[in-house]
């Protein structure tokens, strides 16, 4: 709560700056139009025009908010939350791929991290390639993934989820390797004096002490999953989902639509990451790890 005022200030500053930028960026078009129509624009007219264009270079904040409202809450009020024009519908499509991809990605990431920590061969051979894998532009191989999976009869949610998993596994691997290696040699020695099995060492020491790292990785992984799901939506024909909204918005120069889909995605990400944050707080508290 004590962050409320600062955030409000920053948001206000951004909004003010944004309105100004909208005037600056859209003025040329407004003036061109005026010249073509042979009229002279006064300053207030110019400002009003720049804040209400149909295809602005930069939509004014209220235009985005109105669009967001019209495509979410307003539709929900009319009982059309799941209509194709509703961002709730598209958000839900993206969300389902995100969640599935997140589960697959973090699952794979954790397994890989366990492998790296427990098997020296994996430690030495996999890490450089995991880094290299993240330098591959996902947008380039996403269509191939879709096509290849298609040829073995997998389509729909799964290919999107796989792309989203591809983006989310890496931060989880990095974080969890760090986490699983975080026990000090003292803590490990303690278990050796009990002659504990590797299994017991994992469950009673490595896993619990990696929990803070796990949550940090989960948060990054969740955000990455969302980006992955959106990218995955493009080559499936970009028919539904927030990614599709952005792309079709882009085909038709509907900047307001792009921006509202962008914000919807960011809000979704904030909610998902926030949910993990809540889980983190309560679990770490129960584990006695947050003061």
């Amino acid at each position: 709560m004590r962050s409320f005022l600062p955030i409000l200030t920053v948001v206000t500053a951004i909004v003010v700056f944004w309105y100004g930028a909208a005037v600056w960026m859209n003025a040329k078009w407004a003036q061109d139009q005026a010249v073509r129509a042979g009229v002279e624009l006064s300053i207030p007219e110019l400002v009003a025009d720049t804040w209400s264009q149909e295809r602005p270079r930069l939509p004014a904040p209220h235009q985005v908010v109105v669009e967001l409202w019209n495509t979410t809450a307003d539709m929900a009020l009319q009982g059309r939350a799941m209509s194709k024009r509703s961002l709730i519908f598209h958000g839900w499509i993206t969300l389902s791929a995100t969640l599935l991809g997140f589960v697959m990605g973090t699952g794979a990431g954790i397994l890989l991290a366990v492998g790296i920590v427990y098997y020296r061969v994996m430690d030495m051979s996999v890490m450089p390639w995991a880094i290299a894998s993240q330098t591959i532009p996902i947008l380039a191989i996403a269509p191939m993934i879709i096509v290849v999976l298609n040829s073995v009869g997998i389509q729909g949610l799964i290919p999107k989820a796989i792309i989203s998993a591809y983006l989310s596994f890496f931060p989880v691997v990095v974080g969890m390797v760090k986490g699983l290696r975080s026990p000090s040699s003292d803590q490990l020695d303690l278990l050796r004096t009990y002659n504990a099995t590797p299994n017991a060492t994992f469950w009673k020491l490595r896993l619990p002490s990696s929990t803070p790292y796990l949550f940090t990785s989960l948060k990054i992984g969740m955000a990455a999953s969302l980006v992955g799901a959106i990218v995955g939506e493009l080559p499936t024909g970009a028919v539904r989902g927030l990614g599709a909204r952005m792309l079709t918005g882009s085909y038709y120069g509907q900047t307001i639509q792009i921006w509202s889909a962008l914000f919807a995605a960011a809000i979704l990400a904030a909610i998902l990451v926030g949910a993990i944050g809540l889980a983190e707080r309560s679990i770490l508290k129960r584990m006695g790890m947050s003061q």
Partner: protein, 307 residues
């Protein structure tokens, strides 16, 4: 019923009205077909989907289909509902462009992804280089919208008569502000939306039969769409899952599309094919196809379907 999957070249819009009409009006069902239409988009190479087994038949432009054929993807044209090309270059008048002679020194937006070939052969017939400089043109890989011309980043952009051109108009420029160069008029037109399948599948009589029925129903859909542009546009809208299309734009698009399908009964006109091939082979230093293709089209399906 037999399952048939059709891969489109672009997103759901009136450009593909015939197929959606055939689906909604039950023409496919009448032919005992269970048709799925997969929309395309800028990241989708229909040929890849076809080769990967994700579709039975695709809509593609002949330049990219022939290029794919040379790359080892044996696709065959089985029908050609589009008679004429809708591609053109649209320029702002205030750039001073009145004819192709004014292009040197200008910046032109071009679609790539297999759509650049007609443009490149046009430039090579004009003798204009495409590497920038004062006597060449600077080429931009244009995105999926018409922003570059609106924002003044390009002097000309590629447009389709049925779509992007109207987006420029909708954005506030008027026809008087613009100069257009239709590829048809420039003698470099290539065949657009045709139906293609994988060659070896045509050895299977059952598949040939399916395609025959498919083409027959599709052409019926096209004729209905030409006669009922507004209703056809509404059918397209109903099938648009993105919820991004507008009625006004789709009705207008349907009207323009009808001009392109007019004159085709679905069968490929070999003369159009020859013209396309020669345009592509003259593509300057880097021709799209290096050898005259063999067996890139067949009349087997249309002969059976249209009798």
């Amino acid at each position: 019923a037999d399952d048939v999957t059709l891969q489109l070249k672009w997103v759901t819009q009136a450009q593909f009205a015939g197929y959606y009409v055939a689906l909604e009006n039950g023409y496919y069902a009448d032919e005992d077909l269970n048709v799925t239409i997969k929309p395309g988009g800028p990241d989708i190479a229909p040929v890849q989907v076809l080769m990967g087994g994700g579709a039975d038949v695709m809509i593609d432009w002949m330049p990219s289909a022939l290029a794919a054929r040379e790359q080892g993807a044996p696709v065959v044209n089985i029908a050609q509902p589009f008679k004429s090309s809708g591609m053109m270059l649209t320029c702002r008048k205030d750039t001073g462009i009145t004819g192709p002679a004014d292009f040197p020194g200008k910046t032109l937006g071009v679609w790539f992804f297999g759509n650049e070939y007609p443009f490149l052969s046009w430039m090579s017939t004009l003798g204009i280089g495409t590497d920038g400089g004062d006597d060449g043109v600077t080429v931009l890989k244009q995105g999926f919208n018409v922003d570059p011309i609106l924002q003044g980043q390009a002097d000309c952009v590629s447009t389709m008569t049925y779509n992007e051109y109207w987006q420029i108009i909708d954005a506030g420029l008027t026809a008087d502000d613009l100069v257009t160069f239709k590829y048809e008029d420039q003698g470099v037109a290539t065949l657009e939306d045709g139906l293609y399948v994988i060659e070896e599948r045509l050895d299977d009589p059952a598949f040939v039969d399916q395609m025959t029925r498919f083409v027959r129903a599709s052409m019926k859909g096209w004729k209905w769409a030409e006669e009922n542009p507004e209703k056809a546009a509404m059918i397209v809208l109903d099938n648009d899952e993105t919820g991004a299309q507008t009625e006004h734009h789709q009705i207008r698009m349907m009207g323009e599309i009808a001009k392109l399908t007019a004159g085709s009964n679905g069968a490929l006109d070999p003369a159009d094919y020859e013209r396309t091939v020669s345009t592509l082979m003259s593509g300057g230093s880097d021709p799209v196809i290096t050898a005259v293709p063999e067996g890139a089209w067949t009349h087997v399906i249309t002969d059976a379907a249209l009798n």
